[in-house]
């Protein structure tokens, strides 16, 4: 009886743990859906609401309130959640972008500075050599 | 460093200094050597007027209690050596032969006079019990 129970236990646990390994999608996808873009907006709205509440409950003078309010509304979305992609994916992309930005090219035909992704010069229409 | 940060740092420093002072004061007023029976007997001469916390086991058969006078006498031992203890006050429940005890008080070379008595049950992981002199 005991032996049966033990074998059963081992079998059940083995099944629970090992079945995902035999399925196609055995891995947890590491790049999940990106965070909703409204994060930054929500935080700012919340911050403004907090300020309004503080003002309404008598913690701030009208002037202080106005000053803080414009400060919050103007703050860049630096406090927004970063991209919900793991660093291993984002970092090389960022590196590429930075590298690409560093390259500045001029048109072979007219000498105008060329925008990065240009394949034809915007000034004279000459096709651009090199990277796609 | 911005003005705000400097003010905060100043406040923090004040807090820490105040805390350190309180800690030092508190430590000084309650510091006591924590010794086993053997250690105390070895250093008896130097410990004459020092506050000591003595730990050991209650020697089996050495307990003498006067329930009315509230006095308690017993020997505390570390397994090989022993010394006598006198205590006055409420005796904790865990106190009995073989119990682990910690007594706080002074040793005059002969007897240990305890102001406080803590007892723990002989087996591990059981609650500690405390008794105090008035």
């Amino acid at each position: 009886m005991d032996v049966v129970a033990m074998v059963l236990l081992v079998g059940v646990v083995g099944a629970i743990i090992l079945t995902p390994l035999f399925r196609r999608s055995g891995f947890v996808s590491l790049a999940g859906p990106p965070a909703p873009g409204g994060q930054a907006g929500r935080k700012t709205a919340d911050a403004l609401a907090d300020l309004a509440f503080d003002h309404a409950t008598g913690k701030l003078t009208d002037d202080d309130y106005a000053a803080l309010r414009s400060k919050v509304a103007a703050a860049p979305a630096a406090s927004a959640a970063p991209l919900s992609l793991p660093a291993e994916v984002v970092d090389p992309l960022e590196a590429e972008i930075r590298a690409a930005r560093r390259l500045r090219r001029s048109c072979a035909g007219c000498g105008t500075a060329l925008p990065q992704a240009a394949r034809f010069c915007p000034a004279c229409g000459t096709p651009v050599e090199g990277r796609r | 460093m911005s003005r705000t940060n400097r003010k905060i740092l100043a406040a923090v420093v004040v807090f820490v200094l105040a805390g350190a002072y309180l800690a030092y004061n508190g430590a000084r007023s309650s510091m006591a050597y924590y010794l086993t029976v053997g250690e105390l007997l070895d250093r008896a001469a130097g410990m004459r007027n020092a506050d000591v916390r003595l730990s050991g086991l209650v020697s089996a058969g050495s307990i003498a209690r006067d329930a009315i006078a509230g006095t308690l006498a017993f020997d505390v031992t570390d397994g090989t050596r022993r010394l006598p203890v006198r205590y006055q006050g409420v005796v904790p429940d865990a106190f009995k032969d073989g119990a682990e005890v910690v007594v706080e008080g002074r040793f005059d070379g002969q007897t240990f006079t305890a102001a406080r008595l803590f007892a723990k049950c002989p087996s591990k992981f059981e609650p500690e019990d405390e008794g105090e002199d008035a």
């Binding site: 509440f53 003078t61 | 309650s30």
Partner: protein
């Protein structure tokens, strides 16, 4: 049945290890398998307990045939192997629950699960190789040794499991913090996701402490509820850092500040929870000999060092990314209030920790063990407690970012005046003791400040055309965390008030012959007589006392001093307590002589009842804080208030 249990434990160890190193889908399944296995092991263990399987060494060592059902249950956590199994089982259950509920955090979950499984691997390793709850005796005895009578009471039934739920609960936010660090998802996602876990763990840590105090007061019977004992301190330390963490994360959520603080705080909380578990197992502080006899001490110590080292190492590598972009706008703001709050709690934790490990430190430094006593802890923590009271009152009145000083002072006016009135009333009531007076006055101050802030909030809503009652209700429903927090603070205030009472109590010893009396304050106790009788296994020595208050007959009290016969003789004091809102009359029967005279200790403990009421209020506040925010309405409120301003 025992073999199944033992097998389940070994398998749990294997599965936990697997789950630690395989953070893929199979690894997550391991979390569930682990929970299943430890569930099986716990069931097998309970079966052994309830069927009195004395072939099991643990069952034989801690229970007996005549032990009642509930106490037999409590044997589960009475000894080392059983309590380790309990810890592991709770951890397994929490891990499974966390993975199930938080599985949507696809990037964090693998590493969080791995962290939880790593801990589980350690505990199941101990259970398999060091301290097995299923070890058999070569010959099964006819009856077990029985449970120490000191443990046969409600306190010992509730206190350990609650404490463990608290300790283990801190593992989940910790695991997600580690995951956040590893994956560099250093925003507040992990905090928001584990908020309820943190709250629940904090709640159980609080009740672990409260049960402990209740038990010490009522059962251990020496007149007090806290002695700064190393084991007590071990439970207090994670509570202190958890409270700081609970507050500090709000700042990260709102302002993206204090990120490094938050990671440090959760690491400390978890490590201190492990440390607390370690302290109560290994006896390292009371005696070095006990520490060395079982290998559990050194193993635990190594594990704690490993966790500490790896967490802080990981933190150091992410330090740059964690540094906040913003900074504090002003010294006088809610943010800086929270920062001070962090500092104070850390300071208290540091002081308690140092005081607790002082003997070990001093031995390392000077070769002699030196310990510090309650005066050390009280000297540090009483001012800290008072400072916390001040913060509790002032912080809600501070605005975010930068408070207007003039308005702040205006906000403090009413609470301040109320506090002064309170102080006058206290003095009139005869309370002169400095610390108690300060603490109680501050309690009045904080209560007034909280009521004022809630009232103002309700009034703002009333401006939108709601009745006061509806306004109040909606106010709380829109922000249950904040107002639940206020209620918790009210609970803490009552607890502090109860503690303040112990600063001006009275104590008197007396030896009485029959008919003699002792007078303490307004009470007169007359010893009517006493005797000894047997009830079952207990020899009960009881004294009957008639109590008069200002001459008027009040009640009869019967303190006892019992002896449990059985394998060992065990003394048990049953104190007699009479509780009123104003004070507790507490009588200890220290001894009864052969001539029938009794040695009594009579203690007056002012305000004790408020501590237990405070515990209830704290529970209510936690429940409110747990409540989900009325979501859609919150958006409307945000929008409406932003537009109106």
């Amino acid at each position: 049945m025992s073999e199944i249990g033992a097998l389940a434990v070994v398998m749990a160890f294997v599965v936990s290890t697997y789950g630690t190193v395989m953070p893929l889908h199979s690894g997550l399944r391991a979390v569930y398998a682990n929970a299943l296995l430890l569930g099986v092991a716990s069931t097998a263990f309970l079966y052994a307990l309830l069927t009195r399987d004395f072939g099991n060494a643990y069952v034989a060592g801690y229970s007996s045939r005549d032990l009642g059902f509930w106490y037999t249950l409590s044997v589960f956590w009475a000894g080392q192997a059983g309590s380790l199994l309990f810890w592991a089982a709770v951890l397994a259950a929490f891990s499974a629950l966390a993975v199930w509920r938080l599985g949507r955090l696809r990037e964090l979950i693998p590493y969080a699960a791995a962290t939880l499984m790593g801990t589980s691997a350690f505990f199941t390793m101990l259970l398999t190789f060091v301290s097995s709850p299923f070890a058999r005796l070569p010959v099964a005895p006819a009856d077990g040794a029985g449970l120490n009578p000191l443990l046969q009471n409600a306190g010992m039934f509730f206190h350990p499991p609650t404490q463990y739920l608290g300790f283990v609960g801190t593992a989940v936010p910790f695991a997600f913090a580690v995951a956040a660090l590893v994956t560099r998802h250093l925003d507040d996602e992990w905090i928001r996701a584990t908020r309820r876990w943190t709250l629940a763990a904090w709640f159980f840590l609080s009740w672990g402490l409260i049960f402990g105090m209740m038990w010490a007061y009522v059962e251990l019977g020496w007149g007090g509820f806290w002695a700064w004992d190393p084991v007590e301190n071990a439970a207090l330390l994670p509570w202190l850092t958890a409270t700081a963490f609970l507050h500090s994360v709000m700042i990260q959520e709102k302002r993206d500040l204090l990120k490094v603080w938050n990671v440090v705080l959760i690491i400390l909380t978890y490590v201190l929870a492990l440390f607390g578990t370690f302290l109560t197992r290994s006896g390292v502080l009371s005696s070095v000999h006990a520490f060395a006899t079982s290998s559990i001490g050194p193993l635990f110590f190594l594990f704690i060092l490993l966790v500490l080292g790896m967490s802080f190492g990981l933190l150091l590598t992410r330090l740059g990314a964690l540094r906040s972009q913003g900074e504090l706008d002003s010294l006088v703001s809610r943010e800086s209030g929270f920062l001070f709050n962090n500092l104070i709690f850390i300071g208290a934790a540091f002081a308690v920790f140092i005081g607790t490990v002082f003997p070990i430190l001093s031995e390392a430094v000077s070769g002699m063990k030196i310990s510090v006593g309650p005066p050390f802890f009280n000297q540090i923590n009483v001012p800290i407690g008072l400072t916390l009271l001040v913060l509790m009152g002032v912080c809600p009145l501070l605005a975010w970012r930068k408070a207007s000083p003039g308005h702040l002072l205006r906000s403090l006016a009413v609470p301040g005046v109320t506090a002064v009135a309170g102080a006058v009333a206290l003095l009139a009531a005869g309370i002169r003791q400095g610390t108690a007076l300060a603490a109680l006055t501050l309690c009045v101050f904080v209560t007034a400040a909280i009521i004022q802030d809630v009232h103002r909030g309700a009034m703002v809503r009333r401006g939108h055309g709601e009745t006061y009652a509806v306004a109040l209700g909606r106010l709380v429903a829109r922000n249950p965390r904040r107002y639940g927090g206020y209620v918790v603070h009210l609970g803490i205030i009552l607890l502090f008030a109860g503690m303040a009472g112990s600063a001006f109590g009275t104590e008197r010893d007396a030896v009485l012959a029959r008919g003699q009396t002792v007078t303490v304050n307004q009470y007169t106790l007359r010893y009517e007589g006493g005797g000894t009788y047997t009830r079952g296994e207990r020899i009960i020595t009881e004294a009957t006392l008639t109590v008069f208050e200002n001459g008027r007959l009040l009640t009869i009290m019967r303190p006892q001093r019992n002896v449990h016969t059985g394998r060992d003789e065990q003394a048990m004091t049953e104190v007699a307590i009479r509780t009123t809102p104003r004070e507790d009359l507490y009588v200890i029967l220290a001894g009864m002589g052969d001539d029938g005279r009794v040695n009594l200790r009579v203690i007056i403990n002012p305000l004790m009842m408020w501590m237990w009421i405070g515990a209830g209020v704290l529970t209510l506040g936690t429940l409110i804080a747990f409540w989900p925010q009325a979501a859609a309405a919150a958006q409307t409120r945000s929008r409406r208030l932003a537009e109106a301003a």
